[in-house]
Amino acid sequence: MPPTTLERVAAGDSAAVEDCLRKYGGLVWSLARKFCANYADAEDAVQEVFIEVWRHAGRFDPEVASEATYITMIARRRFIDGLRRRGREPNAAPIQEEALVSEAGHEAQTEVREEAARARHHLRQLRPEQQQVLELSITQGLSQSQIVEATNLPLGTVKTHARRGLMRLRQLLEADRDASSPREDPS
């Protein structure tokens, strides 16, 4: 099997850096525009995310996660740190408006779109209240108290929906991975 983009980055292949930016730069940028207060902060955040990606490329294990998931996990940590430092809500600017200016959609992002579609398919299998709480917290970046306010649910219920939803989603992802992994030859 040929090396993944991140494995090539870890091996010092300079062309792999550009491949990685072409494949996943739009993903990280889209998330940065959502979670950062303004354009300049988003630029800084994306730079910092990719510095982390280059630094930790050698730890990427394709058996455990996809490249899109690995890079998004690094990005999410950076954006959560930023949100907590600011103590405020994420950028309220609707991303769709920006997409009209900077339309993506080129072939390099096909993998990311497919990965996102798979993720959405699994998320849609959770109970609606679990989906709602997870989307408000993780996708919208709302705090527990903001979710209580938005949903009129008690705090304990919000926490329970989040916990059970995430644990159920883990089961679904594991079942999907088991089903798609090649079976070992018994001989």
């Binding site: 303004n38 997409a99 996708t139 916990r163 989603l169």
Partner: protein, 99 residues
């Protein structure tokens, strides 16, 4: 697996789920560290990956392109000067007034 170890693993997963969504308080963090010491080799990032899946699910129809100048700066390891952009994507006045 002993019932005690199984119970520890369930509790670790609960705490990792809480951490991945809302973060942990100091006492929960101490409990998690104590439990993880008792179960060496536990996949510490497992719930962070699941939470990341939720985030990925939300970007399906919202992907943008990385601005070419920024992509170039990252590729060559430069940091672009701040506030050089005056495009419609620049921060609004409300954003600029943020502390």
């Amino acid at each position: 697996m002993s019932p005690r170890k199984e119970s520890s693993q369930v509790r670790i997963l609960e705490l990792l789920a809480d951490e991945a969504v809302f973060g942990l308080g100091a006492s929960q963090e101490r409990e998690l560290q104590r439990l993880l010491r008792a179960v060496p080799g536990f996949d510490r990032d497992c719930m962070q990956r699941v939470a990341t899946t939720v985030l990925l699910a939300g970007v399906e129809d919202r992907l943008q392109s990385l601005p070419p100048a920024l992509a170039h700066s990252i590729a060559v390891g430069e940091r672009p000067p701040r506030n050089q952009h005056t495009s419609p994507l620049s921060p609004s006045s409300a954003e600029l007034s943020e502390p």
